[in-house]
Structures are given as C-alpha cells and as structure tokens.
C-alpha cells in the first residue's frame, strides 16, 4: 500500500508541477549525514517558508550517502546532497553526480577565514562553517587531574596517555579534514610527527565521527578530537564538556549541492536558497544545531559567547586549506593513518608509554645518553614510508582510487607500509627500553 501511496504522490507531484510551470512544489528528497536534531528544525522552517513543498530526509552517513548516489545514478530519485565534509562533495563532483547551481542569496562573503565558502566551479555551496578542535569531559578531567589542553601538541604529553580518542579519517570526513589540516599547517614530516605523538596517547580510534563525542559525553574517554558543533550541541544539551580551537586549525564550510538529474529541480533550488537566506541561517543558531552561519549579519542574533569567525581574531590566524592538495592525496593519507596508526596502535602505545617514563626519569635526573636515545626513539616513531611528493604521485593515487590502468595493488602497498611501521615501532621499543635503563 505504501507503493500505492508513493505512486499517488508521484502522480500528484507531476500534475502540480505542470500546473505552475516553475514554482517549487511537491516532494524534495535530500540525502544527508546530519542528525535529526539538525534536519527537523530545517524541515519545519523550510516547509513554512516555501508552502507546498515537503522535505523528505534520508539519513545516511557521508560515505554511505556517496555510495548510494553512485549506485542509484541510473535512475536518480534524490534532489540534494547535504553534508559537512567538502571532500565528499569533491568526490561527487568528480563522478559528475552534482549539477552546477549559482545561488541568488546575497550578503555571504567569498571566504570564511581563508577558505572559499562556495565551490569555485559552482557545484556546491557552503551554508555553515565548522572548525576542528579538542573537546573534553570536565568531570573526567577533574577526576583524572588532566590539565586543560590548548593545542595539538598538548595531547602528546604524558598526562593524556590513554585518555584521547579520534575517529578514523578513512571513515570520518571531518576527521580527515582535521588530519589534513595538521599536515598542511605543520608540513608533511612535522605534521605526521605531531599526529603520531598524539596517537601514542589514543585510547580508541572509532569508526564513525559521532563515536568520539559520544564517548566523551558519557565519560568513557576524557578527550576527543572533533568538529566544533559536536561539542557546542553537547554543551547545549547539558553535558559537562568543554571545547577549544587549537592554533593550527581551519574553519571549513558544511555544504549543500543539487544532484545531477534531480527529479524536482525547482524545489531543490528553493531549498538551497532557503538555507542561504537569513531565515535559514538563523536556524543554525538553535541549541541542538549550533553551527556557525556563513552570513555575518546573522551573528547579531546570536549570544555574545557564540564564536564568530568573521570578527574573532582566533579565526583570522587560522591557516588556509588547500582543497586540491587534500583531494589529490585523500586515499594515501587515510591509508597511511590506518596502516601506521590505527592497526598498529598497541605497538605505538607501548613505545609511547616507555617514552613517557623516560621523560619523567630525565626530568628528575638529566642523562645525556638516555636523552640521545629518546630522541632516536622519537625519530623512529616519526619516520614515514613515503615523502610528501610520493604521497601525491599519480602512481600511488592510482593504487588507491581503483584506476583503470594496471599498477601496484593497494593491498601490496598497504602490506609494505604496515611492515615498515611494525619494524620501526619494534626498533623504537627496544631503544626506549634501553633509554629507560640508562635514565634510571
């Protein structure tokens, strides 16, 4: 009977759209990774602002949503794709699954921080900004006497051993951006050094973005590396959590794009316009959503403590983010993270633990030999199997994107990287034990 209802709805949609040639009407379907707390208020406000249109929300995580559009493109029934990670939109654009559209809304600047708000080619538009940072559970921090973290490097300190959590960048578009931001902000070598030093303190690497704030909210882990609105909306719901933007970070827009061959293009355009209108932007300020509007005028309605990327000096210092660079090495960076960190976490943590003990011993009683050994250990941990140039090389890129040419198989390369990491961490562990002996 639902099928019948569907057919009826289609019939209705068809007749009404013929009746008013261009006026948006009928059902508009959006695939989104946003939670109900975000989509419900937008649905309500949109349907009120544009009467006659119903917003049909299909909730899928970003990756599943991209896969879904890809699998169903032959007979597409989806009008819009609506999600955070600009990377996902780049993937969709690359597969010709997005249609270009130039929004008519005014009052939105070209850039937020140093990041262009809209896709220069016009395939998707930013409607809200988000920055990446560190979130922690206050009760947990008090109970375990954790200091307040301020920057990425702080998380590498001994106090945070086994207290930090992150989502795997291969599964979480937002974490991928965080990792890429660190790599771009600090450079390839130094960036990986920071990442691996932090990773030695990881308690868990979750497989979905929301796993991290969930664990911090419930106090299972103390500190999480997250996108800002996870922390803001948790605060708004009353959880005892805090958040800070580190110095090396960036604000990146969350986006909306119209899908190629959208069945209801007029209503899809109306939705994009609504998101960018003042009314739509104000919805972002709701406690359950708490994202940063891209229209500076809207901040007048927000509270004084609401972060404003257009005036707040912290945001002006934030680094520029090179999307093309990121796009060129997505697969390589994600796989490096998984092979060197996620799947070798126990080994990495083992070395880090000893290293923290060495540092503690050295602080009490300086010892040049142990110090030299500890530095060697750090170098071994930080060592990378590929250089920055290799990382973006067409050969590696081909191996990770399923290129049609014959070439190295992803599994081969992964296996090489994994054994590289295993060997380095084993050597590092031996040296660290030696250092500890010397330092005591």
């Amino acid at each position: 009977m639902t099928a019948y209802r569907l057919a009826l709805a289609f019939g209705l949609a068809l007749t009404t759209s013929i009746a008013h040639a261009q006026a948006p009407a009928g059902k508009v379907t959006v695939v989104t990774s946003f939670s109900k707390d975000v989509t419900d208020p937008f649905k309500k406000a949109f349907e009120k602002a544009v009467p006659g249109v119903t917003l049909e929300v299909q909730n899928r995580n970003t990756n599943a949503g991209v896969k879904y559009l890809e699998e169903t493109k032959a007979n597409n029934q989806v009008d819009l794709f609506w999600a955070s990670a600009p990377d996902a939109f780049e993937v969709l654009k690359g597969k010709k699954l997005l249609a270009a559209y130039k929004p008519k809304a005014t009052g939105i600047p070209d850039k937020i921080g140093s990041y262009p708000i809209n896709d220069p080619a016009g395939f998707y538009s930013g409607f809200a900004a988000s920055g990446y940072g560190i979130m922690w559970n206050d009760r947990y921090a008090k109970a375990k006497k954790l200091p307040e973290p301020k920057d990425w490097q702080d998380l590498a300190g001994p106090a945070f051993y086994d207290h930090v959590s992150i989502a795997s960048p291969a599964r979480s578009g937002t974490t991928h951006l965080t990792v890429e931001t660190i790599l771009q902000g600090e450079g390839w070598e130094k960036g990986w050094r920071t990442l691996k030093a932090m990773a030695g303190n990881f308690n868990a690497i979750t497989d979905r973005s929301f796993g991290v704030p969930e664990a911090v909210n419930s106090g299972q882990v103390g500190v999480g590396i997250v996108i800002d609105f996870f922390a803001f909306s948790a605060q708004a719901s009353g959880f005892p959590v805090k958040f800070v933007y580190p110095t090396v970070t960036t604000v990146v827009p969350a986006n909306v794009g119209i899908v190629t061959n959208a069945p209801n293009k007029a209503a899809a355009e109306a939705f994009v316009e609504f998101l960018l209108s003042l009314a739509g932007q104000e919805v972002l300020l709701e406690p359950g959503i708490r994202r940063l509007p891209v229209n500076p005028a809207v901040y007048a309605k927000a509270g004084a403590d609401y972060p404003n990327p257009f005036t707040d000096p912290r945001f002006q210092k934030m680094i520029g983010f090179d999307v093309d660079k990121s796009e060129a090495r997505t697969g390589v960076v994600d796989t490096l993270f998984d092979q060197l960190i996620s799947f070798q976490l126990d080994a990495l943590k083992g070395v880090t633990k000893v290293l923290h003990e060495v540092d503690a011993a050295l602080a009490k009683k300086p010892n040049p030999q142990a110090k030299a050994l500890a530095d060697e250990v750090r170098a071994l941990i930080a060592a990378m199997p590929v250089s920055e140039a290799q990382g973006s090389s067409p050969e590696l890129r081909g191996a990770f994107t399923g290129a049609k040419e014959k070439g190295a198989r992803q599994a081969e390369i992964e296996s090489q990287w994994a054994s590289f990491a295993r060997d380095s961490y084993a050597k590092a562990k031996a040296k660290a034990d030696e250092a500890l002996k010397a330092a005591r």
Binding site: T2, A3, A74
Partner: protein
C-alpha cells in the same frame, strides 16, 4: 539404551523425489539465486578481478594470505567465535536445563527474559552497555571508588567475547530448550528403570538426544560472532575479519578488492562451520516416535536444589539483562556522564518519540512479521528437502541459505541497489525503492536462524510417523501439513521468533535501502536519533520501545502456539 549412534538405517525406502518436491526445490533455488546470489554476486565478483584489466584472478587472495593484518584478524575471529560459544553455553545450559527439566516457577518468564539479549537495538544498546560495563561505566567507577581497581569488561578481544556471548547466547537457549522439550519421556524413563540417574542420565541420555538443538544454537553463535561487525567496532577492536571487511567496503574513494575478498573468506568460513556441525550429526538418528508426552519428566527440586537453581538463574539473568537495565535508565536520564547513575530522571524523552514512534512501530511490525513468515516457510521447506528427500544437491540449498549469515549487511544492501535499482515499475519508480525490498533483504539475512531451528526440529521427528500417515493413504503434501508441521511447531516457533526479533532491530542493510521516512523501521529511527548529543535520550526511549515491542510479540506467539497445541490435544 540410547538411540545413538545408529548406522544409516535402510532409508532406501524414500529414494526418489516426487515432481512436487523437485518443483519446490527449484522454486527455492530460484528465490535464493535472485535475492541472494545475484545481488551479492554483483558486489563480490570484484574480489576475483585483476586491477586494471578486470580479468579473472586469484592474486587478491594471495594478497590476503600474505598480509599480516588479515591473518591476525582471521585468527582473532576464530578465537573469539570459539570462546563465545563456550561462554554462551555456560549462560544457556543452566537456564535451558532448569526450566525444562524441573518444576520451575516462572519458567516462561525466564525463557522470555533469557531471550531479550538478542534484541539489543543498534547504537543505543552499545552506549548503554558502555555506561554500565565500560572503562568508566557504573561498575568500574564503583569498583574504583571502593577497592581502587577496574575490570576491563569491554577491553580488547576479551571484551568482544564477553559482549558477544551475552548478546547471542539466546540462540543456544532457544534451540536447546525446544530440543529438550521434544525428547521422548520414555527414553528417560527407560534409562531410569535401568538404573541411570543424575548427571549420568543427563550426559548419556538427555544431552545427546538434545544435541541437534544444541548444535543448531552453537553453530549459529559461532557463525554470527564470526560475521558480526557491530560489536568489535563498538569496542574499537579492528583486527577481526568482519570489521576489516566493513571498514574497507565503506571507505569512500577506495575501489579496493580486499573488502570483497574478506567477504568471500567470511562466507567460506561460515559455510564450513555449518557443514561441520551437520557432519557432527551425520550417521546418528535423533528421532523419537512418541509425541505428546510433554517432553522430559519435570522433577520437583529439593529446597537446597531450589535455592541453588534460582540463585544460578537469577545471577545469569542479572548479568545478561544488565545492558537492558542500563538502556532503561538511559531512557529516563537527563545527563549521564562519568557517574554511576544519571544526574536526574525525566519523562521528556518518551514524550519526544511518542509522536513519531507509532509509524516506526507499524513499519517494524510489518517488515519483521513478513520477513519472519518468509523465513519459516523457506526454513521448513529447505529442512524437509534436505532431511527427507534424496534430491541431488539438496545440501546446497542449505549452504546457500546459511551463507547469508556471513554476508555483511552493507554488502547485501549495495547488492540490492545495484541489482534492482535499474529495474523500474511502469511509473518509473525503481524496484529497490519499494519497502518490500527491505522485507526481502531482512528475510534473506535472517533466514539462517529460522532454517537452523526448523532443521533441528525435523531431525527429532521420526520418519516412521510420516510413513504411517502415508501408509494410511495420505499424500506427501497432506502428510507434511497434518503430521510434520504440527510436530515441528515448537521449532518453527523458535525460528520465527528469532528471525522476527532480530529482523526488528536490523540496521546495516536497512540503512542502505530505506528510501523515505514513511517507510522507515524503528532501527532506522534510532540511528537518526543517535547521531547527536541531544538525541541520546530519545534514542534510548525508542530502543526501550523496540525491546518491549519484540518481547510482547514473543510472548504472544508463545501463547498462540500453546493454545493451538492444546486445541489439538497436543498440550500437556
């Protein structure tokens, strides 16, 4: 005396298959091919193709064997599955034995409660469990306070074993209980007359006769744990096979064949496990002729036995139901963070989900009932063909259906989209966007549960009963309808209830296939809520609704079967 092992008796009498049976076998094969083989094949063939050229190759399997991570994962998966069977048996045996073998007040309640762990709603169940057993869960916070120690219930492989055995032991409980009830009392009495009693009676008579039920449950636990990805991922254990497959299949921009290679390995391992458990029963005959004796004699416990018995049952139930208790608390909690109990309680979450849950409930009931119905029809038919006919290749039906257990839901979901999205109805609606597709995917995914239960039930029925009916002039179809199916009722019910309830909380394939909110089942609603901090309470409330709903349906179906059995004079 025991009935085992008996040499394969002259079964030549049911040599050939009737045309009807052949047609049935072909129909089932076609169904499995269309809704399982085809969609999964469209996804998995990538595992056998060479990069770049697309020609057939086995090099990817060579890569699999050579990769340390995958071999470590394979070994971990085996270890965890085997240990989970052991612990699940430890939980299930006392519950099953005590409630069927003794006059036990509240036996029905124990059976229903013991069934609940199977219906742990996705995501929210995990959160609830962490809040109770996690590294900073209630128990560890209290332990830390009182004695300064912590227990890693949910850490690493042991954590996976703990959660899995709590989650899946009902498979053993249900199938073993059904089998124990079906044992002919005369067997036990004969043994007692010959002087056997106590543990010896259990070891030599009762347990061997119930072995088909136990093995049906144990093999399900093994395969399910082997193929489950949700629990390891929730505990952040990644070096197991199923999570590895999932992580690869769902990462975007990666057209890597390894995810599909791992899926193939999972399927092969699952089918092998099923085959081994079938082998273990081969050449033995578990059938007993007498029916209606009401199963084993129920003894009355001495006071000491009663104290011990109830103590054990309550202890086990408390352990396995702790996650549900945590879920209930969470659904009433305002904020629950790093504390043994929530800060305060509220009814607001139920108010929030009240409006929309009725739609979800309706959809869930329709989908799960239809899926469960399809499953028991197929399950009975396949079990009958495998055990009662000599059709060539009949085991393949069994193995094909069991293979569904090993296919990651997301692979099945993508396969359905790929195979059926291009097929459109006259008005242009894709076939895959109709809700019936969700039902079919659920039915395929849960078919192995119903099939195992039906097979076990049929194994306990003596062929001679059917022969008697046929000698009296009944046709094969009539015999099945009037003799076989009624005698299998307990097993069929067990199968329906397992399929129904697990289908009601399925998410991974559903998530790919849900096309609109009006077609969404409860599990999807839960998922949508559980993506935000504010949605945790309402998600938990919806989870409680799901658990209650399934529990209610379970009790109802028990009642219906009991009543109909009584009406037919088969009750005790």
């Amino acid at each position: 005396m025991t009935a085992i092992p008996i040499a394969p008796l002259p079964r030549a009498r049911r040599l050939s298959a009737t045309p009807g049976q052949i047609a049935l076998a072909l129909a089932i094969a076609a169904f499995l091919l269309l809704f399982l083989g085809l969609p999964v094949g469209t996804v998995l063939y990538v595992g056998f193709t060479e990069k770049g050229t697309g020609s057939f190759t086995l090099v990817n399997f060579y890569d699999f064997v050579r990769t340390e991570l995958f071999m470590r994962s394979l070994w971990n998966s085996f270890y965890v599955s085997a240990m989970s069977v052991v612990w699940a048996s430890v939980f299930a045996l006392p519950l099953a034995y005590l409630t069927t073998r003794f006059v036990f007040r509240g036996a029905a309640l124990v059976q229903t409660l013991g069934f609940l762990p199977l219906i742990m709603p996705p995501f929210v169940g995990a959160v609830a469990m962490q809040l109770f057993f996690g590294r900073n869960g209630s128990i560890n916070l209290l332990l830390d306070d009182w004695c300064g120690l912590k227990i890693g219930f949910m850490e690493g492989l042991n954590g996976v074993i703990f959660v899995q055995s709590v989650h899946y032991f009902p498979f053993i409980l249900i199938n073993l209980s059904a089998a124990l009830r079906n044992i002919d009392r005369a067997m036990e009495e004969a043994a007692q007359n010959l002087g056997s009693s106590g543990f010896r009676l259990f070891r030599r008579i009762v347990f061997p006769l119930a072995l088909p039920g136990y093995l049906a449950g144990a093999s399900l636990v093994f395969v399910k744990v082997f193929d489950d990805l949700a629990t390891p991922l929730l505990l952040n254990v990644k070096d197991m096979l199923a999570p590895q497959a999932y992580l690869r299949v769902t990462s975007i921009g990666i057209a890597d064949p390894m995810g599909y290679v791992i899926s193939v390995v999972l399927i092969v391992a699952s089918v092998t496990a099923m085959w081994l458990s079938a082998r273990a029963l081969k050449g033995r005959d578990y059938a007993t002729t007498q029916r209606g004796g009401g199963g084993l004699a129920r003894r009355i416990m001495t006071p000491w036995e009663a104290v011990l018995g109830y103590g054990v049952v309550i202890l086990i139930l408390a352990l396995v139901l702790a996650p549900h208790l945590a879920l209930l608390l969470l659904s009433f909690a305002t904020i629950w963070s790093f504390s043994p109990l929530p800060d305060a309680f509220t009814l607001a979450h139920y108010a929030r989900v009240f409006g929309e849950s009725s739609l979800y409930i309706k959809n869930t009931l329709i989908y799960a009932t239809l899926a469960g119905g399809i499953d028991i029809v197929l399950g009975v038919a396949i079990a009958y063909l495998v055990l009662r006919t000599k059709l060539v290749g009949r085991e393949w039906l069994d193995w094909a259906a069991s293979a569904a257990l090993a296919i990651p839901g997301v692979v099945l979901g993508i396969g359905y989209l790929r195979a059926f999205y291009g097929v459109t109805l006259p008005d242009g609606t894709p076939l895959a966007s109709l809700w019936i597709t969700i039902v079919l995917a659920l039915a395929i995914r849960r078919l192995p549960y119903a099939l195992r239960a039906c097979s076990a039930a049929l194994q306990q029925i003596s062929v001679s009963l059917e022969e008697a009916a046929e000698n009296l002039g009944a046709t094969k179809a009539r015999t099945v309808r009037r003799i076989v199916v009624p005698l299998m009722a307990g097993g069929i019910l067990a199968g329906f209830v397992t399929s129904f309830s697990t289908a009601a909380v399925e998410l991974s394939a559903t998530l790919m296939l849900v096309q609109s909110n009006s077609d969404a089942p409860l599990a999807y609603g839960l998922y949508v809520f559980m993506q935000s901090a504010a949605g945790r309470g309402p998600g938990a409330a919806l989870g409680v609704v799901a658990v209650l709903l399934v529990a209610l349906c379970t009790v109802l179906s028990h009642l219906i079967i009991e009543r109909s059995q009584k009406a037919k004079g088969m009750g005790h």
